[in-house]
């Protein structure tokens, strides 16, 4: 909502009005509405300050005792607005009322905006290339932030499912032991429960979570629930279920049921199944009859408590295993690749026609020299004669001019060395120029991607977008490409580094003009 909205045109519900609130040394009135907070100067008809609750990151208040009673709103963007409550009699009350209302309202709107912004921040932090792109395109106002994120967040919503599966932080096995109660002073214990601890308890004991959902807030308050929890025998080591008044006794029974289920299902992962590792023999010499575990009802008390502990341990372990099972790839664990038959990739068989051609290679088209036998004899005689008196005469091999011209040709820049120049362009161009060029390429690539994805243009939205993208490209060329070109010209880099970029942009412009002319022709 733009700040200049007339107050009279409001259709929002106003939750709180606070008079005599100063902002930037101006007297005015503060309005808290359903979705935003706004302030207008005294006597004026318009709001000069208006913030959606979703945009507000947090509020701050001046400390008690200070003469000026203020409330500050800090936005996600980092901006802050300060309100000074100047009503002589009720400033503190006003400020506190405002604060409390904000405290209730802000969390409601916080989640939605925050999450998106967090997501964006995370993406920018994780990917330096993306961050650079953002800086190049959005900060220098080549395209708007919405356009930049339009495609990206779509992609990320697909990934969202994946990213949510990222590992959740585990709970230490001893976390319950860490909830050490403090003595209250009068024979009581004081447990300090934080949201983290509560979550950990819920994750470890899903039965407790279920009970919580059932009973709070209808039957019990949170405080009462947790009091009972810590009092219950469920929590304590004994775990021998006494009276049924304890709402947690059911939890114990549930746990036992769950455990029995798991035992019946058996351990899925044969790697961890200890039972299968035993040798199974049938009787003496043959095999074994599976021994039935007798559950005697005459267990002594001590055994009972032991078995209770062991049951709890097993239950916990089975839940840990269940969480890890998904990740273990059984195949990988069991099979050894190199012992298996070679599964070579299927190759296309070489189909040679006239395979004998390959044994003797290409035959030149010109006719072979046919030498008569006499020629051969003559030649050999000639050469033998020549070589019989051969004495090396090395000083006559090369004239100095021939030598120096050969050296010149082979020096850098010589005729024979020209191919070398192109190879070293990587070294000719300094690193910072290379870096800038890379950024230009990624920025241009991003814009071009947006542009080309508009075709075929068959909706009015795409029409608008393609026009906008074309102007974005032009703006990019002017604000980013031209200065870069001028800079490298000044640095006497003769090689044409930006020719290809310009070609790409030109291709886009050509396409745009073609499309535009076609559209005009259709209209006439």
């Amino acid at each position: 909502m733009s700040p200049g909205t007339a107050m009279a045109a409001l259709s929002e519900e106003v939750l709180l009005v606070v008079k005599r609130v100063r902002q930037r040394k101006q007297d005015g009135t503060l309005y808290l509405m359903a979705e935003r907070i706004a302030w207008g100067p005294e006597g004026k008809d318009r709001f000069t300050v208006s913030h959606l609750y979703a945009d507000i990151r947090c509020q701050k208040i001046s400390p008690d005792g200070k003469a000026k009673i203020q409330l500050q709103l800090v936005l996600h963007t980092g901006e802050s607005t300060t309100f000074h409550f100047a009503n002589e009699s009720s400033s503190l009350k006003d400020r506190d009322a405002t604060k409390e209302l904000l405290q209730q309202l802000l969390p409601k709107f916080k989640k939605k905006a925050n999450k998106e912004l967090e997501e964006k921040n995370r993406m920018l932090q994780e990917d330096p290339v993306l961050f650079q792109l953002y800086k190049d395109l959005v900060v220098s106002q080549v395209i708007s932030a919405e356009e930049f994120w339009a495609n990206r967040l779509n992609m990320s919503s697909v990934d969202h499912a994946v990213s949510n599966n990222r590992q959740e932080v585990g709970i230490s096995a001893a976390f319950l032991a860490d909830i050490r109660p403090q003595t209250d002073g009068c024979n009581g214990l004081r447990y300090n429960l934080t949201a983290d601890i509560i979550e950990s308890i819920f994750r470890t004991y899903p039965a407790v979570k279920q009970k919580y959902n059932e009973n709070v807030p209808e039957n019990l308050t949170e405080k009462e629930f947790w009091t009972r929890f810590f009092q219950s025998h469920y929590f304590h080591r004994d775990r021998i279920s006494t009276g049924t008044q304890d709402i947690f006794s059911e939890c114990a029974k549930q746990d036992e049921k769950g455990l029995k289920c798991m035992v019946v299902q058996g351990v899925k992962n044969p790697m961890v199944d200890l039972l299968s590792l035993e040798d199974k023999t049938l009787d003496e010499g043959y095999g074994s009859s599976t021994a039935q575990s007798t559950s005697s009802s005459k267990q002594s008390l001590k055994e009972n408590s032991n078995s209770a502990i062991i049951k709890r341990f097993n239950h916990h372990s089975s839940m840990v295993l269940a969480a890890g099972l998904r990740k273990v790839k059984l195949q990988e664990a069991i099979e050894y690749d190199d012992l298996q038959k070679d599964c070579r990739p299927r190759m296309v068989a070489l189909n040679l026609k006239k395979s004998d051609r390959y044994s003797h290679g290409p035959i030149p088209l010109q006719s072979q020299h046919y030498s008569t036998t006499q020629d051969i004899i003559n030649s050999i005689n000639f050469i033998q004669h020549e070589m019989a008196s051969y004495k090396p005469c090395l000083t006559q091999v090369m004239s100095s001019s021939a030598a120096s011209s050969a050296i010149a040709a082979l020096s850098p820049g010589g005729i024979l060395m020209l191919t070398g120049v192109q190879q070293t362009i990587n070294q000719l161009v300094p690193n910072d120029v290379q870096g800038e060029l890379k950024h230009l390429y990624s920025a241009a690539g991003e814009l071009l991607r947006h542009f080309w994805s508009c075709f075929p243009v068959n909706t009015p939205f795409l029409e608008e977008k393609v026009v906008k993208m074309k102007s974005n490209l032009e703006r990019f060329q002017v604000t980013k490409l031209r200065p870069f070109q001028e800079k490298i010209q000044r640095q006497y880099l003769s090689s044409n580094l930006t020719g290809h970029l310009e070609e790409m942009l030109q291709a886009a412009y050509n396409k745009f003009h073609a499309w535009q002319t076609r559209r005009m022709m259709k209209k006439t």
Binding site: G361, I380, Y390
Partner: protein, 210 residues
């Protein structure tokens, strides 16, 4: 200048097909096998002078055999070089060079002298010479060496497969091959250069400009 540890071995394979060279010498007087030998020797000397640790081998590719001109089997280190003081120390040259030159010229002379006339064997055994060169390199077996192939006569179709095998073996051994072809275009060496990217420089020297 190469570093102290690096030993650089240069193997020159020289096509000394007597029939071709004989015909060549009859055609034009300017460029003869002698002159070619001189040029090769200059290059060999240059290589040996560059570093004390540089090594050299020259193989003559003949139609009857492939023969090592240098190092020679007959030469034992410290043997005959001290005897003939006039040839060795006469002009104050670096001894290795004078010894090498002497040996090479002796060998080429004897090689040519023992050429027999055999009508059907007129092709240079290039593939065989290259194979010998590779074996020698493998025997010496230090870092990457350079190798020069000088080919004079036309391609021989019969040796194609062998030639290709040798080229692939050279590629596996990371041996560089430079080729210098005199007079006629060698499709074989071109192919080798293009396909295997082994060739350093592929020059076709026009004999008339000599």
């Amino acid at each position: 200048m190469a570093s102290e540890d690096e030993i650089s071995l240069l193997v020159i394979v020289l096509d000394v097909n007597p029939i071709w060279w004989g015909q060549q010498a009859q055609r034009e007087d300017e460029f003869t096998l002698s002159k070619c030998m001189d040029a090769v020797m200059v290059m060999a000397n240059a290589h040996l002078v560059m570093s004390r640790t540089n090594k050299l081998a020259i193989i003559a590719s003949h139609c009857q055999e492939s023969h090592f001109l240098y190092p020679s089997k007959h030469w034992k280190a410290g043997d005959s070089c001290g005897d003939d003081s006039s040839s060795a120390g006469g002009d104050g040259k670096y001894e290795v060079l004078s010894v090498a030159n002497k040996l090479i010229s002796e060998e080429i002379r004897s090689l040519m002298a023992r050429t027999e006339v055999k009508g059907h064997q007129t092709d240079t055994l290039m593939a065989g010479s290259l194979a010998k060169a590779l074996c020698y390199i493998h025997r010496i077996s230090k870092e990457i060496e350079g190798k020069v192939v000088i080919k004079a006569a036309e391609d021989c179709a019969l040796q194609y497969m062998n030639f290709m095998n040798v080229i692939f073996a050279a590629q596996k051994q990371n041996v560089l091959i430079d080729a210098c072809v005199l007079d006629s275009d060698s499709g074989l060496l071109q192919q080798m250069g293009l396909l295997l990217e082994l060739c350093g420089i592929y020059l076709v020297s026009d004999l008339s400009c000599r």
